[in-house]
Symmetry: C2
Subunit: 232 residues, 2 copies
């Protein structure tokens, strides 16, 4: 009657795909902790219990949104490297580009890495992503055994994220103040000295006092260079 406007998106009936897409949007907008069955149903203009017709339970929703994000990654990655032939000389650049592209997608879903880590069943879309990576490295001259080691060495970095020991999640981190470093220095002199020097070297970093992207690429290149050396 009057709720036509409010429920305009809800008029079309539910479906697994619509539920999952709404779940991703809810997590994007309000954080993963806001993703409850009741709130998700609300966003869809339905009752909580209606979801269970399209989805077996909340775990299934989490598996589902991981697969949605991984599918987005595949879509982004598929647009890459048309007609570039992969050789032992070019594999590294191709893998690097692929991983950084995956990272771009992940940066649009800050909650995703944490959820990826909690999943026990690997999503089909993640498998497809890894399949592409294996293909690339085979063309680059690696043995299956080497590729297996490489995937383990990369770990989540293969998909474009790492877990940091400092400040997981809440980016951008603010630089520690001089006062904080002084307090810290009393107990942890070497660590405080390091942080003081690093903060001094790059005081204007717009992405916070640690540029995640730079650090991600540093670690990634360290590993890729090591693998490259391994293959010769």
């Amino acid at each position: 009657l009057f709720d036509m406007a409010a429920t305009s998106t809800a008029r079309t009936s539910l479906s697994r795909e619509r539920v999952l897409r709404a779940a991703v949007e809810l997590a994007d907008a309000s954080g993963i902790e806001a993703l409850t069955m009741r709130r998700l149903a609300d966003a869809l203009g339905a009752e909580a219990m209606s979801l269970y017709y399209h989805v077996t339970n909340k775990d299934d929703v989490l598996d589902g949104i991981v697969d949605v994000v991984a599918s987005d990654i595949n879509a982004a990655v598929d647009q890459l490297e048309r007609s570039i032939s992969i050789t032992p000389a070019t594999w590294k650049q191709a893998v690097r580009q692929r991983i950084l592209r995956a990272r771009e997608v992940l940066l649009c879903h800050r909650w995703a890495p944490a959820v990826f880590e909690t999943r026990r069943e690997t999503s089909p879309a993640v498998l497809r992503y890894l399949d592409g990576l294996v293909k690339l490295m085979r063309e680059g001259g690696f043995s299956n055994d080497q590729i297996h080691h490489a995937l383990h060495a990369l770990g989540s970095r293969a998909l474009g994220f790492t877990q940091e020991l400092f400040d997981p999640g809440g980016r951008p981190a603010s630089a520690p103040t001089e006062a904080m470093l002084d307090v810290m220095g009393a107990q942890f002199a070497h660590l405080a000295d390091m942080l003081r020097e690093v903060a001094h070297d790059d005081p204007e970093s717009t992405l916070g006092w640690c540029d995640d992207q730079t650090e991600f690429e540093f670690g990634l290149d360290l590993i890729l260079d090591g693998l490259d050396r391994l293959s010769r």
Copy 2:
């Protein structure tokens, strides 16, 4: 009266330390999902609300158990490398040994890595651990800037764990059956080929078809070797 035996451990009064230690034991024994305020209180022979006198809330409990585990790591690591002088030639072995020791402690608390990742405030014990690592690398001839990059490149590996894309948490993984690989091969040929070959190469691996420890060390050495080369 009759519950003397059942509550024998509960007779001593509560304290923050006793609460945290019980929390670690509960997580060790029953998994992190069993760690609720009510069950934790039960294990201590107290009411749920009594905990709040010694601990500000559940987040504080999680911060606390991370710190307890990190303290255990420090204790284990402190027993290492007495009287070995660190030089550019020996730093790698010392860091490697330190990290593998940290990993040993973590392997006794399978729930810990996942909890480490969710914490926003870094625990004092983790800071102390990192301080020791920085000290080691300084003695090994690295600049503070290089050490900063190194810590980011190592990420959680500095503390002895990585997140794997396959099968997070539930170890040991069982080898994929031939039938599974056939199904998988239809969609993900390169990945299935790789897994088939790896499983065939090492069919007797007692730790499951992927030896986590071997893979962890492979990735760690790849990074340490890269850092070593960087410092020359």
